[in-house]
């Protein structure tokens, strides 16, 4: 699959390595130039340095040809915009996002984010199941 990873640091490093090793075609977009260089060297992924919430940057990352986009930034507004532009402008079929504030999950889903992941929500669900 052609997968675009936008934003993130530790999560990005791990995910890029994992997806690449399982044979996916991985492209990353990140504002951190050093991280871009590091990841393109170590994992042989195509890296674009820039603001992933801008459609021009996503376009230079070949967004229109992607099967899935994953928004990994620490800012919910940025993640939402990344997924919305991907879906509405580049017609990417699957959009996935980290959600930092679990209260945003429903809204994200209704606005076209296909899969939302919130660590806090997962903890809460887990504790709910235990008790």
């Amino acid at each position: 699959m052609k997968i675009l990873l936008v934003g993130g640091h530790m999560k990005l490093n791990y995910l890029a390595k994992l997806l690449k090793s399982s044979g996916h075609d991985v492209t990353i977009v990140n504002e951190d130039k050093q991280l871009c260089e590091m990841l393109s060297d170590s994992h042989q992924v195509f890296a674009i340095c820039g603001d992933g919430t801008k459609s021009s940057v996503l376009e230079s990352a070949n967004a229109a040809k992607m099967d899935a986009v994953i928004a990994l930034t620490g800012n919910d507004a940025s993640n939402l915009i990344i997924c919305e532009i991907s879906k509405k402008q580049f017609n990417i079929k699957t959009t996935l996002s980290i959600v930092n504030n679990p209260q945003n999950i429903n809204m994200f889903k209704e606005l076209g984010v296909d899969k939302c992941i919130s660590a806090i929500q997962i903890f809460a669900d887990f504790i709910e199941q235990m008790s």
Binding site: T53, K54, S55, S56, N75, D76, A77, S78, L80, I81, E84, I85, K88, Q89, N101, Q103, N104, M107, E110, L111
Partner: protein, 147 residues
């Protein structure tokens, strides 16, 4: 906008107390509206003119709880004017989607993001586009004088 003509005081919620937010707050108050203005930095409220008598709320306007506390559910107009385009668009979409406000206005610097508002019936104000239009007007005025 017909909301200004009604007799009862209606509520306006403004996110972001910068140059634009603070001026708009006073303008809407003069149009006989109750105004609640949110900013993450308490010091920003010093930009409001002394005649402003609405509520100021310190916090992150992109937080659903805070928007609710500020009265977004009852507001007839919600304006997103923080210094971040993405936050403004998210607040705008939340306002339309969760709170069904009559009028939602967002300020966006990057005109390439305007389409995210257009398809949700959100009014966007883009300073770059306005400047461009104004510049075209100035140029055409000069040209017509020259002729």
């Amino acid at each position: 906008m017909n909301i200004f003509k009604k007799q009862n005081k209606e509520l306006a919620v403004i996110a972001g107390c910068g140059e634009f937010g603070s001026k708009t707050a006073v303008l809407l108050q003069k149009k006989n509206m109750n105004v609640h203005i949110i900013d993450i930095d308490e010091n920003s409220f010093s930009k409001l003119s002394p005649e402003f008598d609405g509520f100021t709320i310190t916090g992150d306007a992109a937080d659903i709880d805070l928007l609710e506390f500020a009265g977004a559910g009852k507001a007839s107009i919600i304006i997103a004017a923080t210094n971040d385009d993405n936050t403004n668009i998210m607040i705008g979409q939340m306002s339309k989607h969760l709170y069904k406000a009559d009028e939602v206005v967002v300020r966006i610097y990057d005109s390439a993001k305007k389409f995210l508002c257009a398809d949700m019936d959100i009014t966007s104000i883009c300073p770059c586009v306005l400047s461009e239009n104004e510049f075209k007007r100035i140029i055409s005025d000069k040209e017509s004088i020259a002729v």
